[in-house]
Symmetry: C2
Subunit: 382 residues, 2 copies
């Protein structure tokens, strides 16, 4: 685990972890005339005649806003936009490193979903895509849905879809190793925030049939006042079952935790089916530590952390997804593109118990994902 | 003059002219843990306890938004936010090159002054200062005034204040060469947009007493329906005089054009006082070409262009001004800081008829300006 002091030092020495750099050097007055006035007038004129030429002559086509209001940051909660910034800057750093995407952090002072929507809409001329991040549920669902309709550029809430893509890839590899099929297994999903709901929805799309979503109040209910939770209950075993986490996990083949530290006991793991798969993804403290889960019979374990096997982390996916979407020039990231990204991650490794996902630092992964996403974007719709 | 084809090529080969680059390289999983999760949590926590630590641990302290709605771009007019982008990107490039400031272009889709205000306010957690740019008058005045009151970071409309700073420096050097005093000379200012009004206001502050502001409708009137023009008329000779450009310029020691191409004739220059100073700053086509002005008796000429002597261009000022303001950690750029910037530009050259301002590409100028601005910021208020 990283040392807090070391992390502070690194951030103090490199505030922001990113910088804006000239990509054209101005050496003489000829350069200045081309980069600035009067030369700059010509691309301005071209774009004013046809807005789409912004993609030819400006940074828009490679520039992704990493947007947050700071209302649901890591395990820290609603810490506000200023305090969320280091996360968005880290993400911007990774986008360039792995995807050659210009990511730029935008932390917004805004109180409501409506505010966020209006501010992000106003940024459309500047950015080629929007990565929403660390916005609390259910606000994030309303923001994403509205922006996907109103904007002509891809809008992608990474906490939902990035997580769903990586978890589904990891899960399918784990199931292959365990010799089980997605449509047959019972999957307990703990946590009904942005990522928990999105993982469940995506696994349903991929063919899972026996999902039991559970949150801190127990197995979700079809009459939940949060309509996103109620909708999910309707589509899953939660429409027939009730009880707590111990009921959801009982006889499950798979546990996926996107919830809270330490809530899974050894007894719960012991109550699972044969060769159980335990993804304890709460960060930085998982629902159960991998060693403890293995002692209780877990066949395959994964966490969000780099100090255990099988790090299931969004950073595997987002640089390649944005690279692919920008290269494809699409106005949204479709379900087919998400599935292609998941497949690319899945196919990147020869799965074993301790290697169900690629290494987070593998430089070639993002390019594989980008190619698959672009290919999916170019398929005629079926 | 730059070739249009060449300018398009350069923009196509380097779309954006800037890029977002990692300032920390991630080489191994230890780095990843510090730059991203879990290490990033510690600076987040620190900032959530004290927002001001954003300046220690994030890019905020060196990040300046170059904001436009694209409503008054160069000589091109209201071409919209997408088409304005190459100008903002050029400016961001220059900020880094000359001032080591991270400038980031934000072109906003927004219809009204109120919209712009709300969107820019929402960006306060992300940026350490705001450079407003190419927003049409009088909208720009309302936007700047409101934001200066509502935001805790410097807000600076470069078309107004950057222009005023550079023009005043150039003018005072020109007056030195011509052996005249600012308070004595008659100054005709053509153009009552953002820059014309700001130049007049700033020269008044510096001690000019005989300014005649004129726009395409003639010498400004105290009953103009635009209250910014009426206010200026009130404070200048326009409260006593009337007529057209030829009346304003008659017997003037100084002509400052921030208006339209070709509107000054040789006869008008001939009607000026002894050793007249002619700043024809309309871009890219000046109010009168320098050679023609000299033939008609102009003693000193200046334009906004690099292909004539005495290029009076905002790029002389803004990188140093923002560098100084950020280093001083101020929440606004005061009149004293603007005057200090003007003096630094003025003092940078030994003035001669063909050298009243520094070379635009002099790398050390911005640092001189920054030092002067910072010093002015640290003076106790008088």
């Amino acid at each position: 685990m990283a040392n807090d002091e070391e992390a502070l030092e690194l951030h103090a020495e490199n505030p922001g972890k990113i910088s804006v750099e000239p990509s054209v050097d101005i050496e003489d007055s000829d350069d200045l005339e081309l980069v600035y006035t009067p030369g700059v007038a010509e691309p301005c004129r071209e774009i004013s005649e046809d807005k789409s030429r912004a993609y030819d002559y400006t940074s828009k086509g490679n520039m992704v806003a990493v947007v947050s209001d700071g209302s649901a940051v890591l395990g820290l909660g609603d810490i506000g936009p200023e305090a969320a910034m280091p996360v968005m800057e880290g993400k911007s750093n990774l986008m360039k490193k792995f995807g050659d995407v210009d990511g730029f952090p935008i932390c917004l002072e805004s109180e409501t979903a409506g505010d966020i929507v209006e501010h992000v809409e106003s940024l459309e001329p500047t950015f080629g895509a929007i990565n929403l991040e660390d916005i609390k549920a259910p606000r994030c669902f309303r923001v994403e849905r509205t922006l996907k309709n109103s904007m002509d550029i891809p809008v992608f809430h990474d906490d939902q879809h990035g997580t769903a893509i990586v978890v589904s890839a990891a899960l399918q590899n784990a199931l292959d190793v365990a010799g089980k099929q997605l449509q047959d297994v019972r999957i307990a999903i703990s946590g009904a925030g942005a990522s928990g709901i999105a993982v469940a929805e995506f696994l349903l799309e991929l063919g899972a049939e026996n999902i039991v979503p559970v949150d801190s109040s127990g197995i979700l209910r079809v009459d939940d006042s949060n309509r996103f939770k109620a909708d999910l209950a309707e589509k899953t075993l939660a429409s027939y079952e009730s009880g707590g986490l111990e009921d959801a996990i009982d006889d499950a083949d798979v546990f996926i935790g996107l919830s809270a530290p330490g809530i899974v006991s050894e007894e719960m793991v012991e109550s699972m089916s044969d060769n159980p798969i335990v993804f304890a993804l709460a960060n930085p403290e998982p629902e159960i530590l991998p060693d403890k889960a293995k002692d209780a019979g877990a066949y395959i374990t994964a966490t969000g952390r780099s100090d255990f096997d099988n790090q299931v982390n969004n950073s595997l996916a987002f640089p390649g997804i944005f690279r692919g979407a920008l290269d494809a020039g699409v106005s949204e990231i479709s379900e087919e593109m998400k599935a292609a990204a998941s497949d690319a991650i899945r196919d990147f490794v020869e799965p074993k118990r301790d290697r169900i996902v690629p290494e987070t630092l593998d430089q070639s992964l993002a390019l594989e994902i980008a190619d698959s996403v672009q290919e999916a974007a170019e398929q005629p719709e079926t």
